[in-house]
Structures are given as C-alpha cells and as structure tokens.
C-alpha cells in the first residue's frame, strides 16, 4: 500500500476536527494542534478525533508533509510565518466579513493570495474551504460513487497542487484543479460554489461561468 504523507491540522474548532477525521479515515497519519498546550485538546482528540495525535504546533508541523490551516483568519495574522517555512500548506480558511468582521489586510485580494504573501517560504494551496464543515463529512464518498461531489484545489506550485488533489480525492471528493491561487478566488464566500456541494459537471460549469476563474 502506498505510503501517505503526514498531516498536521492546525485548529481544533469547527473545521479542523472534521478534516482530521476525514484524513484519518483515508489512512493519513494525523497530528492536531492549536496555539496552546496539546494537553488542552487531549479530551477533544480522544472523543471527537479518535486516531489523531495532539501535539505542540511546532512539533506537528516539523514532522508534517502537509499542513492544514483551519484557524480563524485573524488568528493567522498573529502567526509566525517561520513556523510553516518550507512546508506545503493547505489554506482551508475563509475571509468572510459579514460573519467574522472586517480584516483590512484581506480587503483587496483573494484571501489565499494574502496568506501565500505572508508565507513566502511555503507552498500554499487553497482547498477544503468551500464546503461547510457540517457537510464535509456527510457528503464524502469513495472514488467512483454515483453521488460523489467535487471540491476545488487552487495553487501556483503544480507539485503541491497535485499532492493536495490526492488528499481531496482520498478523503472523498473529485478534485477540480484551478489555474492559480488567484483563480481560487472562485472558491471564496459569495461565489456560486461556496456552501453548495456540487457534482463534478455542475461544479466545473459553475466555476467556468464565474469570471473570477479567468483572472
């Protein structure tokens, strides 16, 4: 059996545990971390994310092949970019002013472009941000299932994008590659695929029809 890379999921709120559970079910070794002591999330891990390892963020990241960022965006702004240097980073976060407040650094560009700008030493891929955390698990299906749905993957580093396509596929979605991180703006809140779980043909159609994917 193929050896899967190690995942570090940063964030134990709404989204992080869901992605961690899906990755564990897909066979990935998964560590989960917050900004604090792993002891603080030991119970959460045991009961809500069985199979994951609670660790300090720096240790989890150091050993990881893929780091998933699932923290509130304003907390990301406080994070030291050096922590993620040299890593493949999946940006599962969203900039959503109506729900979370206005953050000036994110007003002018795609949120993942801002994230990548701050993480200049990392390969940033936007994925797993546009399906609601309460649906991500229920809608996951194995490859070939008739009711399988699609999920977008956007990045500027083709090798990193391919790795994340593999992750998305294994956890239960047909990956749809977008041309660039900038094109990934089509996955943001307010777009036709955000919060809507679509099958591959409808997803591709919605993305193609949205002008942002051509930028």
């Amino acid at each position: 059996m193929e050896e899967l890379g190690r995942l570090a999921v940063l964030g134990a709120g709404h989204v992080g545990p869901v992605i961690a559970r899906l990755a564990i079910a897909a066979g990935y070794p998964v560590a989960i971390a917050t900004s604090g002591d792993p002891e603080d999330i030991a119970l959460i891990t045991e009961l809500v994310i069985p199979g994951a390892h609670p660790r300090w963020a720096s240790d989890a990241v150091a050993d990881a092949d893929i780091v998933v960022l699932a923290i509130p965006l304003h907390r990301f702004l406080d994070m030291d970019p050096a922590l993620l240097a040299g890593k493949l980073v999946v940006d599962a976060m969203n900039y959503w002013p109506a729900s979370d407040g206005v953050l000036a650094p994110f007003e002018d560009r795609g949120s993942s472009e801002v994230v990548a700008g701050r993480l200049s030493g990392s390969a940033v891929v936007k994925a797993l941000n546009h399906i609601g955390y309460h649906e991500l698990e229920d809608r996951a299906r194995p490859a070939g299932a008739p009711d399988r749905r699609a999920a977008g993957v956007a990045g500027d580093d083709p090798v990193a994008v391919a790795t994340v396509e593999g992750l998305v596929d294994r956890i239960g979605y047909d990956p749809v590659r977008l041309e660039s991180l900038r094109a990934g703006r089509v996955l943001q809140p307010g777009s036709p695929v955000f919060g809507v779980v679509l099958a591959l043909p409808e997803f591709e159609h919605a993305v193609r029809d949205d002008a942002r994917s051509l930028l």
């Binding site: 709120g13 119970l43 959460i44 009961l47 729900s99 407040g101 649906e135 919060g195 779980v197």
Partner: protein, 342 residues
C-alpha cells in the same frame, strides 16, 4: 430519567391569513400569547432568542418573558439565546434575576451567539473580537451567578471590585446554559465554567453530536464538576399531518434561508435537501405529532440529552398556525416522547 420539553421563538414576524406581514408590535403581543398558551398546553419551558432584524423583531425578549411570567405559574422562562458578547454580563444577570424574582424562580438563560450577528455593529462591537468577548463575559457571568460580591477585571468592560450586584436570587443560581453549534472547544468551555450544554443542531444528522455530549461529560469530570444536563435545540413545525406541516413550513424555510444565506454562508435549500433534513436522519422536526415525537425520542437517546427545545415558527407563518403547533407539541408530541422514552 426526567425529561423536559421546551419551545423557542425568535419573535418570527407573523403574517395574516392572506400573507400580509403583521406589525412588529402585533407579533410581539402574539409571542406573549403563545408563551401563556404553551403553559396551558403542558410545555415545560418557553424561550425567546435575541434578534435585531425586521423579520425577527425581538431584541428585548426578557421584557416579553416578564409579561408571560405575570400570566403563568409553572412554565420556565428563558433566553434562547442571549447574545452575551455584545451585551453587558452585569445587565444580563440583572434582567434575568429580575425575571427570576417576578416569576417565582422560573428564569433561565442560554448564552451564545445563536444565528444573531446583527447586534455587533448595532452596539459597536467588532465581530473579529467575538472569541475574546465571549470568553471574558461568560467567565464574569459564571461569577455573577454564584451570588455575593464580585471582583473581576478584564478588557471588555469596567472592572468590578467587591461589587454587590442586585437583585439577589432567592435560592441560588438560576439555570444557565451555553449554546454550542459545533465547536468542540466551546463544549470544553461550558464544562470549565460550569454551564450546562445546549446543542444547537440546525442541519445535518443530529447523531454526530453524540461525541459532544460525551466530551461534555468527560470534561465536567476532568474539571471536578458535578454532572450537568445537555439540551438539544432544533427548528421544526408540527401540524396535523406530515404533508400539511411540510407544506406550511417549506416555502417559509426557503425564504428565510435565502434571506440569511449571504451573511451566514448557508447553502440554499432544495426540495431534495429539505426532504433529507425532515427525514429520520435530518435536523428539522417537521411533521405530524407522531413523526416529530419519534424523531425527538431517537435523538434524545442518541445524544444522552434530557431536554429538547423545538424552535417553532418562521417569518410569514400565521399566529393560528403557531398556536396549532404549540397545542400539538404540548398535548401530543411531549406525552408521546415521554411514553417512548419510559
């Protein structure tokens, strides 16, 4: 095991029989009537959720609860929820301890964010500060509930130094819950501060919340606290038949979700998704008394919860439809659930 059953409203603006919206004032008077009728129908708890919108004109639910308290003698009355982050914990305590006094000890609060974010700009709070505001204010509220002079200092309100906060409660703290929508760290917080746990389940299979219930119990043990109850809050509508309940609820549900979807990120419901949510594994309790009772019993068992609050009503339903819902819930659903669970 003792189970209790509640009804919650957001003051959903009523329409008349031909679909014309009633005024905010008429809607509020109707909510008071509904609360009084809930007691007559045998319901244990009546909750009012804080909202500040044209279609949920209900920013001061505690005033309405006081009106209901004056006309009832048994039903418990509380918020569902109080948006604590954009309020002052001292004022929230004072309002609900006053309600507790008027009602002879029937007040409760559920603290949370609910689906209400309008209060942040209205009162000058930044949504980006949500987490810090809630953590600090919930901590202070837990202190206030204990009674006695409070000393507290934080970033989100003026400090208190050995402050006596009145009115004192007659017989200790009134019940206080924290509403949680799916963040396990919020479950831990409720246990750490000694609040009971209110699980707000408004979409997807309720059974997935069983882990949260276990997490809450284990966390209470870890923090050395006695066991505390878990309640489930979900939307629904009861009518004589499944078909009638769905026919009344669906167009209103589609309308309200379409209205709030842009800011809340909800997907627009389709008839297919509505059928899933109203089916045995969905989060909506829409149907005949038997259908709704079976679903409540199943999920209370699965989630090891002892209270169920049905969020009844939607903007655009009529007061008569809501009264029928309340009557069927109190007189048929609740006794049937008790029977199924006994």
């Amino acid at each position: 095991m003792t189970y209790t059953f509640g009804l919650d409203t957001f003051g959903d603006r009523n329409s008349d029989a031909v679909g014309k919206p009633l005024s905010h004032a008429e809607t509020i008077r109707n909510v008071a009537e509904e609360g009084v009728f809930a007691e007559q129908a045998g319901v244990d708890f009546f909750g009012i959720g804080e909202h500040h919108t044209e279609y949920f004109p209900m920013p001061a639910g505690d005033v309405v609860l006081a009106a209901i308290a004056a006309r009832t003698g048994r039903i418990r009355l509380g918020s569902a929820v109080t948006v604590l982050s954009s309020d002052d914990p001292v004022r929230v305590f004072q309002r609900y301890s006053t309600l507790n006094a008027i009602s002879g000890g029937r007040a409760e609060v559920i603290l949370g964010r609910g689906s209400s974010i309008e209060s942040f700009p209205l009162f000058g709070y930044d949504l980006a500060d949500y987490e810090e505001l809630f953590e600090e204010k919930a901590t202070l509220f837990a202190e206030l509930l204990k009674g006695g002079p409070v000393t507290w200092e934080g970033k989100t309100r003026a400090p208190l130094l050995n402050q006596d906060v009145v009115p004192h409660t007659e017989s200790g703290p009134f019940p206080a819950w924290i509403g949680v929508g799916g963040n396990p760290q919020s479950v831990i917080r409720a246990a750490r501060l000694g609040f009971s746990l209110a699980l707000a389940i408004i979409g997807g299979p309720p059974a997935r919340f069983a882990a949260y219930s276990q997490l809450f119990r284990r966390a209470l043990e870890k923090f050395g606290r006695p066991p505390l109850p878990v309640l489930v809050h979900s939307p629904g509508h009861v009518a004589a038949t499944d078909e009638q309940a769905k026919a009344e609820f669906w167009p209103r549900w589609r309308e309200i979700i379409a209205l709030v979807a842009p800011e809340r990120g909800f997907a627009l419901p389709t008839e297919e998704s509505f059928d899933t949510e109203t089916g045995p594994h969905g989060a909506l309790y829409v149907g005949s008394p038997e259908t709704v009772a079976q679903k409540i019993a199943t999920n209370l068992r699965a989630l090891e919860a002892t209270r169920f609050d049905l969020k009844y009503g939607l903007p655009g339903l009529t007061h008569d439809q809501l009264m029928t819902n309340i009557e069927l819930y109190g007189r048929q659903v609740v006794p049937r659930v008790r029977e199924l669970l006994s």
